[in-house]
């Protein structure tokens, strides 16, 4: 795709048409083989053809914080949204950034669309809530809650790791020891400890953390009294966090000013349920948070920094919590109603700088850091468009597109046959080669770059039939012009090529430019269209150079075309060729092209 070349240098494929043909045939076989080998024999379908929901969100900066919509923030937001959507148990949900401030969420069919929208569209709600009670929430066979101690009395020393291995991760920071860097690699650590940063020499977190169930302690609860609220108690008792449905609905609608129940995972990835007090610190007050490696202790920690208001609130809450017995000395970091971490507090933490340590690995520390800082982001999202397509309609649209394509193709072929007679055979074979290349590449691009064939992309492919056929027409007309000037076929084929080639390159370049610009500046559906158009334009060049031209050269040696049979589309009489003697051309005779015998 360069500027048209001025010189008439012999074309690449001209001398060895067989080689070019072999090359493209090998490419086609390889692509087809690769397609079957990879098991992706059909292009991946977009939501509008396969069914599903697409949500387009636009980031909106709050007044005065316009520069908040930047790449880092967007990427963090994508991470969070991905987590939320996949938390619904969605398979293959896709969250992508588009343009500078759009996020596209593709949710395949079979997902609760409304729930997904709720999850996706809202800003992260991050609150720091005091923990009133914690209990395990085991799947299938609910762990027999050893109610150690009558309800009502705090039971700090509830069954300490009495049940063997399963409780390893919950084993608490023993008094005097520094927070256990127990090497759990998954999930989030709930038995983290919260400290003032830079960490003071390990003032221990008081009590061993309970495993099994710890019944709510009616201790001096700060505000309201979640512990004595019968309704909330019942809710807490009934909550089963092992059930994904309950999990995703619980706590979502909780008002920050009211106590609530919530689910969260402990260091072993087991679900626990929480009874939480009203929010004490809003996530918005977090200025910065990140997971860092504490080089002294060799463990991963999460550093937190609050703004002025947050620092004050945080000092207050930590001061109060520190004096409480377990588990009331913990507070939960609740993101969208889910407890992502519930560290215990050793001492009041003034100054707005704190760190959470515990059983973090690199990933979980950075994860929590992201979550915490996301709560502080001034990014909110507005739903721009929500498209839900049922699988039935998607299939119908795909069918309509394919039928339209087939009819378009048939019309083009009929026209070519009627007008170009035998020559149309070459055109049809070339269109076939183009189709094979387009299809296999599209199929392979699905797994490779996440290309999904959507309706506009189908349109692009259909429109491309015309573009591809245009190139053949340019070449064929050139050949016929040469024949009209009285040349025999073989010189005509060779002389026509450099000129046709230039026209094809220039016009394909313009098409490609249009597709590229369209792809770069647009959003959403338009991109699929532009992508297909660009791809097919490139393939058109490949096919014309490596397939059509060599095929033409080879067939020109044959009897049917070479003899310029009346049905070949190259019959000099029909074309009204002038006998060479009366040639009226104004052109200088071109240097004789090297003839391949």
């Amino acid at each position: 795709m360069a500027a048209p070349k001025k010189g008439r240098r012999p074309s690449g494929g001209q001398g060895r048409p067989g080689r070019a043909l072999a090359l493209i045939l090998i490419a086609m076989v390889a692509l087809t083989g690769g397609m079957f080998w990879s098991g992706h024999t059909t292009p991946r379908l977009g939501i509008d053809l396969a069914g599903g929901t697409t949500i387009t969100l636009k980031a909106e900066a709050e007044p005065g914080k316009e520069d908040a919509v930047n790449e880092t923030n967007m990427n963090t937001a994508i991470g969070i949204i991905e987590r939320r959507v996949n938390g619904l148990g969605v398979q293959e949900a896709e969250v992508q950034k588009q343009g500078t401030d759009n996020i596209i969420v593709n949710i395949p069919k079979g997902t609760d669309e409304e729930q997904a929208r709720q999850q996706v569209g809202t800003t992260a709600q991050l609150y720091f809530r005091p923990v009133v009670a914690v209990a395990a929430s085991e799947p299938a066979a609910p762990e027999p809650s050893p109610s150690t101690g009558p309800s009502g009395s705090p039971s700090p020393s509830a069954s300490p790791s009495g049940k063997g291995g399963t409780d390893e991760g919950d084993k608490a920071t023993a008094p005097g020891s520094s927070p256990s860097p127990s090497a759990t690699t998954q999930g989030r650590a709930l038995t983290d400890a919260l400290k003032k940063a830079p960490s003071p020499s390990g003032s221990p977190s008081g009590a061993p953390s309970p495993s099994g169930s710890t019944l709510p302690a009616p201790a001096v609860s700060p505000s309201a009294d979640p512990a004595t609220d019968a309704g909330l108690q019942a809710k807490f008792a009934a909550l089963n966090c092992a059930d994904p449905k309950q999990r995703s609905s619980v706590g979502k609608a909780a008002k920050p000013t009211e106590p609530t129940v919530a689910c969260g995972r402990n260091g072993l990835g087991q679900w626990e349920k929480f009874l939480l007090g009203p929010s004490e610190v809003d996530g918005k007050e977090v200025d910065d948070a990140k997971g860092v490696l504490d080089s002294q202790r060799g463990i991963w920690i999460v550093q937190l920094e609050f703004n002025g208001k947050g620092a004050k609130e945080f000092a207050e809450i930590t001061g109060r919590l520190a004096s409480q017995p377990e588990p009331q000395n913990r507070f939960a970091i609740a993101l969208d109603g889910e407890v992502v971490s519930a560290p215990s507090v050793d001492a009041a933490i003034p100054g707005g700088r704190a760190e959470i340590s515990g059983s973090f690995n690199q990933e979980s520390a950075q994860d929590l850091g992201n979550i915490l800082s996301y709560g502080a982001l001034p990014l909110s999202f507005e739903e721009q468009s929500v498209t839900t397509v049922t699988a039935a309609l998607g299939g119908e649209q795909l069918r309509a597109g394919l039928i339209a394509g087939a009819i378009g193709l048939a019309l083009v072929i009929i026209y070519l046959v009627a007008y170009y007679r035998g020559l149309s055979l070459i055109a049809i074979l070339s269109l076939g080669a183009s189709a094979v290349l387009t299809y296999t590449i599209m199929s392979l691009l699905g797994p490779a770059i996440g290309f999904a064939l959507n309706l506009p992309a189908v349109c692009g492919a259909i429109v491309a039939i015309g573009i591809t056929a245009d190139s053949f027409i340019v070449y064929f007309e050139r050949i016929r012009d040469e024949i009209r000037e009285g040349r025999t076929l073989r010189p005509a084929v060779e002389r026509a090529w450099p000129r046709a080639r230039r026209t094809i390159l220039v016009s394909d370049f313009v098409s490609f430019l249009a597709a590229a610009v369209l792809f770069i500046v647009t959003v959403g559906k338009v991109q699929g269209f532009a992508f297909t158009l660009g791809l097919t334009t490139l393939l058109d060049v490949v096919v014309v150079f490596l397939f059509t031209k060599p095929l033409m050269t080879i067939l020109a040696r044959g009897k049917f075309f070479g003899g310029q049979h009346p049905w070949s589309g190259l019959d000099p009489k029909r074309l009204g060729a002038q006998p060479p003697l009366r040639r009226t051309t104004r052109r200088a005779p071109a240097p004789i092209e090297p003839k391949e015998a």
Binding site: G405, G408, C459, V510, L513, A514, V517, V521, G576
Partner: protein, 360 residues
């Protein structure tokens, strides 16, 4: 068909020809008239913007026995807004309600599902916030601007600035016509339309490039002869590539027509239809403009070039001389003269610039 092939041959040799370039004033007038109509249509009727630009919801239901008018009542009652309901080829309905935000829209979907007695899950919904369209439109304008600049630069580089300018004017002309048709007929403008419109950019230029390529070649040694002025040469080139232009346009239109009629026939309105409609209109406009507008414009611009003015003088002088000798200054007759003779028998003032630099 063979007759067309013959015509192609005669066009190619310049035996027959349509005087596009000489009659350019007429075609300019036609185009200006069309453009004024388009602009007037746009000003008076405006564009019928789809819900993607206004915000609202489109629901597509599966096959239902409820009539369109009943569905319209249900939708309007529930939404408190005007609803447009169309029946689709599939037996389903397409219900369009504007002026909703995405939250209200969901409730409406349930109501409609209950009203026409289909499960809510089987209703396809497209909910669009009001600022979405603005964003799309802005991107489209950006794309348009970027593309035009790039393509003008490229064409100026590949051909020459006059052709680039003429191509750009032809392009704007195509876009105006397409938009005008949309305004006058009242077709709905959707993102699909915008896609189509942007595609026309590339496509309309495809035709123009094919013609210009022929023109560039035809006029390569133009200053070395005295039979034709630039305009005449441009017209000959245009005629020579006419068959090619017609064929490429027809072949481009055929699949688009397939899309338009099948897309429409099967699905009522939708993305397929929107894209193909604007493509269809734009492609037709593009073919027209590449023949009737772009090339005559190039000729017009070229005729201002001193070299071409000199050429014109020489050509006219030669013709006057020939007429004085009693020969017919007819193009047909001239065409019969073998080239060698014409080149050798150059008469009339020979400008400095016109001197052949290369003898053949």
């Amino acid at each position: 068909m063979s007759r067309l092939g013959n015509l192609g041959a005669r066009l190619y040799r310049g035996e027959v020809g349509y005087d596009f370039v000489a009659k350019r004033k007429f075609w300019y007038a036609v185009s200006i008239l069309i453009t004024i109509t388009a602009i007037a249509g746009l000003a008076v009727r405006g564009l019928n913007m789809g819900i993607e630009f206004k915000g609202g919801a489109v629901y597509t239901t599966p096959q239902t026995t409820v009539s369109a008018s009943t569905a319209e009542e249900i939708a309007e009652e529930t939404a408190g807004h005007d609803a447009i309901v169309q029946e689709l080829g599939t037996g389903g309905l397409r219900i369009q309600v504007s002026g909703l935000d995405t939250k209200q829209a969901n409730a409406l979907k349930d109501e409609i599902a209950a009203g026409i007695d289909v499960p809510a899950k089987e209703i396809t919904a497209e909910l669009v916030g009001p600022s979405w369209g603005e964003q799309i439109a802005n991107k489209a304008w950006t794309g348009l601007g970027v593309f035009m600049i790039l393509v003008v630069v490229y064409l100026a580089f590949a051909f020459e600035w006059r052709m680039a300018l003429a191509a750009l004017i032809a392009l704007i002309h195509d876009l105006t016509i397409t938009v005008g048709v949309y305004a006058l007929v009242g077709f709905e403008v959707t993102p699909g339309t915008v896609i189509g419109l942007l595609t026309i950019l590339g496509y309309s230029l495809y035709d123009t490039v094919v013609v210009f390529d022929g023109l560039k070649e035809g006029s390569k040694d133009i200053t070395k002869q005295t039979r034709y002025t630039y305009s005449e040469m441009a017209n000959r080139s245009l005629n020579g590539t006419l068959v090619r232009s017609i064929n490429t346009t027809v072949v481009a239109l055929l699949p688009v027509a397939g899309l338009l009629f099948i897309g429409g026939g099967f699905l009522g309105a939708g993305m397929l239809n929107d894209i193909s409609l604007s493509l269809f209109v734009g492609l037709a406009a593009g073919a027209y403009s590449s023949i009737f507008i772009a090339t005559p414009l190039v000729a017009d611009l070229k005729e201002r070039d001193p070299q071409m003015i000199a050429l014109r003088k020489r050509v006219l002088a030669k013709r006057a001389a020939a007429a004085a000798k009693g020969e017919t200054p007819d193009g047909e007759a001239l065409a019969e003269v073998p080239e060698g003779a014409a080149a050798a028998g150059v008469v009339g003032p020979r400008g400095r610039r016109g001197r052949p630099t290369e003898k053949r």
